[in-house]
Amino acid sequence: MSVSAPARVVQFSGVEASMRRIFGIVRRHGYLIFRSWARMISMAYYPTVTVVLWAFVTIYLAPSSNLLRDAPGLFIGAVLLWDLMFRGQLGVSLTLIEEVYSRNLGNLFVAPLTLPEFMAGQLVMSVLRAVVGVGGACIFAWLLFHYSIFSFGFALIGFFANLVIFGWAIGLAVSAMIVRVGLGGEELAWAAMFLVAPVSGVYYPISVLPAWLQVVAEVLPSAHVFEGMRAVLLQGVFPWNHFWIALAENAVYLALGAALFAWAVRDARVRGTLLQMGE
């Protein structure tokens, strides 16, 4: 029989408590990031530098390239979308890594916070980090080169959704690796995305890849997004087939990423590493 709780501190319950816990994770990382100018600037720094680099490449090549004359935003748009996915993945992984660095994981996992709630917090932080990081670069692209990411029109919503979700899936898989192997897996957080970059056709069509790599590209949502981006810029049409395929693939990858993370945490509970995980 349960010992009854004395009525003292009033606590939220049900869905309200769950939302509060997710918000707690967002608040914790929000305090860290959004109250530090240094962190805000560092998030936007890399995407901005990359945009500037590709903008100058575009300016240099455009006079001799019909492709860039027809679609001057080809490279800048590509690099912004790529960074959206990269930031999306980093946002998920870094939310976990910060907890490991702080040796705070034990406190979180003995709180009423469930793993799905923690993951939801990771995903919200991922979107916020992506918006801040890429948003800064977008502003620079507009100010310096008069390029607006919104020139994609409504297609941008499809691109954004598919790239961020794919970033989440990879971020959750990286989180699983970090829980499994500790901070030794941290490098994966930075390197994982670059493994899919060459096959995603960020700056070139998938058709330039060898036949066997084209097969690999078919199962990457990012490849469908960048093919879609070129279709919008060069042909002026939104390729729904690429959108739906990417969305379906993302559903599978996101489920796999979440399952992998859940397995890693379950395994850590068995191995007894959750409480002591840290630097």
Binding site: M1, S2, V3, A5, P6, R8, V9, V10, Q11, F12, S13, E16, A17, R20, R21, F23, G24, I25, R27, R28, Y31, L32, S36, E98, S102, R103, N104, L105, G106, N107, L108, F109, V110, A111, P112, L113, T114, R266, R269, V270, R271, G272, L274, L275, Q276, G278
Partner: protein, 261 residues
């Protein structure tokens, strides 16, 4: 299980490969009491606490906290529990207030600002709320950890070496805070400690562990009398060094694991 039992442990075991960290221990902790888990390094105290918190999956056995089976149904009871441990820390770049605000969210505390003000007062932290946790001294950090552990006014508080590395003054203040909280809330406390003075002062009951087994248990006074010693420190040394044959001392594996206190 009796109505007044807050924590019940039955045949609890944890094995890491070839190493048996906890070897089928059983005990019960009465609601509203303070109980110590004593034992040398590697005796299984932290492992046992981890299983009680649901953060470590037992190899065998059963744990219930406030009538709820752990770790399977832990989310039904974790909001009524809390803990502190030297093995975990808080984010160093957040202020004390920010840390407490986050944990108020995680524990679903309504009127969080009022509650933070109350625990800050209780733990003598009011002047430190705006300071970054990483800038605090060890003693101040320990007080913040205690404030975090009290944020939800837990019914069950698990404390792993709560006063380790504290000077006598801060250690005494910490113990006073815990005693005051226990008196006013009726909370059940289970603490792992190497500080025998703390155990004599705070604990109603003691569970002695050695090499993953419960080797003795009883009140501090009863244990001191049973071992014919003057202090818990001496009892601890007897148990840690395997000197269990003083007077009426149960030996490991001969029923010592099964006594409820």
């Amino acid at each position: 299980m009796a109505d007044d039992v807050a924590i019940a442990v039955s045949d609890l075991a944890k094995r890491y490969g070839e190493v048996e960290a906890v070897k089928g221990i059983s005990f019960a902790v009465r609601a509203g009491t303070t109980t110590a888990l004593l034992g040398g390094n590697g005796a299984g105290k932290t492992t046992t606490l981890s299983m009680l918190l649901g953060v470590l999956t037992p190899t065998a056995g059963r744990v219930t906290v406030l009538g709820v089976e752990m770790p399977r149904h832990r989310h039904r009871v974790l909001h009524r529990m809390n803990f502190t441990s030297p093995y975990v820390d808080l984010p160093k770049r957040l202020t004390v207030f920010q840390n407490l605000r986050v944990f108020a969210d995680l524990y679903g505390v309504r009127r969080a600002k009022d509650r933070i003000a109350a625990v800050a007062e209780e733990c003598d932290l009011a002047a430190l709320l705006g300071r970054k946790y990483g800038e605090l001294s060890a003693g101040q950090r320990t007080r913040v950890s205690l404030a975090k552990a009290l944020i939800n006014e837990p019914d069950v508080l698990l404390l792993d070496e709560p006063t380790a590395s504290l000077d006598p003054d801060i250690g005494d203040r910490m113990r006073s805070s815990l005693e005051r909280y226990q008196r006013t809330s009726g909370c059940t406390m289970l603490l792992a400690s190497h500080h025998m003075g703390e155990v004599e002062r705070m604990c109603d009951d003691v569970i002695m562990l050695r090499a993953g087994r419960v080797v003795d248990q009883g009140s501090p006074d009863a244990l001191i009398a049973r071992y014919g010693r003057q202090t818990m420190e001496e009892v601890f040394l007897d148990v840690a060094r395997g000197r269990t044959g003083m007077r009426n001392v149960p030996t490991a594996g001969a029923g010592a694991d099964e006594v409820a206190i």
